[in-house]
């Protein structure tokens, strides 16, 4: 149960910055997701924590110890690679026990002990009986489990996973997600995993680290990040979102010269951008509200998602309606966001 502390880390690849001054504190035993689009620097941050890359500036602490000076071998991290990187010339058992077998004589457990431990791990990842197989003879999900068992075998201080479910199909991915959570709860390792799948991050992680363009945008529990995004980027990256340009005047929001019935006593006067979730709206009649004409509609699971053109050419937004709502093309729909956030226009553009 080791704390990890990333302090003012910067990383450049041949003068192209991949991370700008990133700081992050991870508590012992936490399950953390690094979430972001490709190119956001999430994998770079993970590799820096592992010691597979060294920071251009800044430090990384494991507990009280400065790990940045240590090589990957000495950091004792369990790293699960995106493509698993299983050793193809070794059996499953040899793969799992590799980390123990390459230890120097003084710290290497006896052969029988190594075998016993590898077999236990094989049971832990529910692959008992497959110890003599080679990686090529396993399915993607099984390889993933072997990779995890191999990383756990060295009794790592922290467990790091790079897109652990990236190469698996949706069904297997869901199962493994649940299973990884169970393993984590049982072994209690401080775990950091990288993903671009927000659903995966929301479901699995204790806390999310949302990254974009080499910077951390927001850190928080899934609830915090989903309900109180601190930037337009986080709002639109996590979950569904609709956005609309609005004007703040007399502590009210206005769209196309009409008050829409949302009060904003704190917001500065002038133009801004309104963000809300398509499912977080209420249909209203005869009051100040947003109104638009349906231009497209499609069935999404148990609801109907309609695209509305807001009156006066103000733009398109999406909202969810009950699946049996009679709205058809060209129907006029009036609604008001139940929960929403305003962001200044400059931030929204960036």
């Amino acid at each position: 149960m080791e704390d990890i502390s990333v302090r003012h880390v910067r990383k450049e690849f041949s003068r192209y910055p991949a991370l700008h001054d990133v700081s992050l504190d991870i508590e012992g035993g936490e399950l953390i997701a690094l979430l972001g689009p490709s190119g956001s620097g999430k994998t770079t941050l993970l590799r820096l924590i592992a010691g597979l890359e060294s920071p251009t500036a800044g430090q990384i602490f494991f507990g009280e110890e400065d790990a940045s000076a240590k090589s990957v071998q000495d950091r004792n991290v369990g790293f699960v690679f995106q493509a698993y990187a299983l050793f193809r010339n070794m059996t499953v058992l040899d793969n799992i026990s590799f980390g123990l077998r390459v230890r120097p004589r003084q710290t290497r457990p006896p052969k029988e002990e190594i075998r016993k431990r590898a077999m236990e791990l094989l049971e832990l990842v529910q692959l008992g009986g497959l110890e003599k197989r080679y990686p090529q003879q396993l399915s993607g999900g099984q390889r993933q489990r072997v990779a995890l068992a191999r990383a756990l075998a060295i009794e790592p201080r922290v467990l790091l996973l790079d897109e652990p479910f990236g190469a698996l199909d949706a069904q297997v991915r869901k199962e493994l997600r649940k299973w990884l959570r169970e393993i984590h709860d049982r072994t209690g390792h401080t775990t950091v995993f990288v993903t671009h799948d927000q659903e995966e991050a929301l479901e699995l992680a204790d806390r999310l680290v949302v990254m974009s363009q080499g910077r951390i945008e927001q850190v928080g529990t899934p609830d915090e990040v989903y309900d109180r995004p601190n930037s337009p980027f986080v709002f639109s990256f996590i979950g569904e979102s609709s956005a609309l340009p609005v004007t703040v005047e007399n502590k009210q929001l206005w769209v196309g010269g009409r008050a829409i019935g949302l009060a904003a006593p704190e917001a500065p006067e002038g133009v801004a951008r309104l963000y809300f979730r398509p499912h977080d709206v209420e249909l209203v009649e005869g009051q100040a509200c947003l109104a638009g004409v349906v231009v497209a509609s499609r069935r999404v699971g148990g609801t109907r998602r309609v695209e509305l053109e807001i009156g006066g050419d103000q733009g398109l937004v999406e909202i969810d309606l009950p699946f049996d709502h009679p709205a058809g093309e060209k129907s006029r729909i009036a609604f008001r966001p139940k929960r929403w956030q305003l962001f200044p226009v400059a931030a929204a553009a960036g």
């Binding site: 010691g51 597979l52 071998q73 790293f79 050793f87 980390g99 390459v102 075998a153």
Partner: protein
């Protein structure tokens, strides 16, 4: 006679692949290819063996066991035994550096590795003469210190190493590039040191490609003529390798003797070919050569 207005049944609708030519075109092309192969490849090979036995089995054996022939065979084996392991090490080192690391001058290094392929072997031999020969750059110093390189075994070994250098590196570079660094990183993250990662992970991943390269390198090392001819000095029984010995016999109109020794080299080529084919069939996906297309 039964009158039937229906059209006569046409030939069954045979599926023809879009890339298939007419039968006549196919036959012509195949015949051309076979004729060419027979003329250029098979016939000479058959001739080598038939010429070798022209004066009977006894003469054949005598030609191979004659003192100079034995010396030539021994020298060839010695040269290959030095050049191939050295190129094995150089080849792995060069391809390791090129495939797994980014550094300045990498493109230049790749070009340099390929140089022996693009330079005429005679020229590479001459370069060594210019460097180590009596009138060469460091020739006088070598002479003063009693070190013989040109017209001696070290020169032959050097020339052979130069000529056969690309075989192993060329085979390994694309293979290692395709495999990437993932496995090595995994080994290191599990606590392995550099040597353990190389020995337990890198080497097993490239072993069949490496064997393939060694095979080709060895065949060329034993058969090299041009570069070796320039630096050898053709001292009979001392600095003649098998190809040089064959040339000497041939120039002395001892055709049967020349072909007897040549048949050994041809045999080596055949064995190499068989092993190479076996490797390609069995481990094709682990060889760069069969992967390129």
């Amino acid at each position: 006679m039964v009158y039937d207005s229906r059209p006569a049944p046409s030939a069954p609708n045979v599926h023809v692949s879009a890339t298939t030519e007419r039968a006549s075109v196919r036959m012509t092309l195949i015949a051309l290819a076979v004729a060419f192969m027979l003329l250029v490849l098979v016939l000479p090979l058959v001739l080598v063996f038939s010429e070798a036995f022209r004066k009977g089995g006894e003469f054949f054996l005598k030609s191979l066991t004659q003192r100079d022939a034995v010396a030539a065979i021994q020298l060839t084996l010695l040269v290959a035994a030095i050049a191939v392991p050295l190129n094995l090490v150089f080849g792995i080192a060069a391809s390791w550096a090129i495939a797994k690391f980014e550094f300045k001058g990498k493109a230049f290094l790749i070009t340099l590795v390929d140089l022996p392929f693009s330079v005429s072997p005679v020229v590479s031999g001459l370069v060594y003469v210019l460097l180590f020969g009596a009138q060469g750059l460091i020739g006088p110093w070598l002479k003063a210190n009693d070190i013989e390189i040109i017209f001696a075994v070290p020169g032959i070994v050097l020339a052979t190493i130069f000529v056969t250098f690309p075989f192993i590196a060329r085979e390994l570079i694309p293979l290692m590039q395709a495999q990437g660094n993932g496995d090595e990183e995994a080994a290191l993250s599990l606590g392995a040191n550099g040597w353990q990662a190389f020995w337990h992970v890198t080497l097993p991943n490239i072993k069949w490609g490496l064997l393939y390269g060694v095979l080709l390198c060895n065949a060329r090392a034993m058969g090299e003529f041009g570069a070796v001819s320039v630096v050898s000095g053709h001292i009979r029984g001392k600095t003649t390798t098998m190809p040089l010995h064959i040339e000497i016999l041939y120039n002395e109109y001892n055709f049967a003797g020349a072909f007897a020794v040549a048949s050994l080299l041809a045999l080596l080529a055949l064995v190499t070919l068989v092993l190479k084919t076996v490797l390609e069939l069995r481990f094709g996906d682990e060889l760069a050569a069969t992967r390129r297309h």
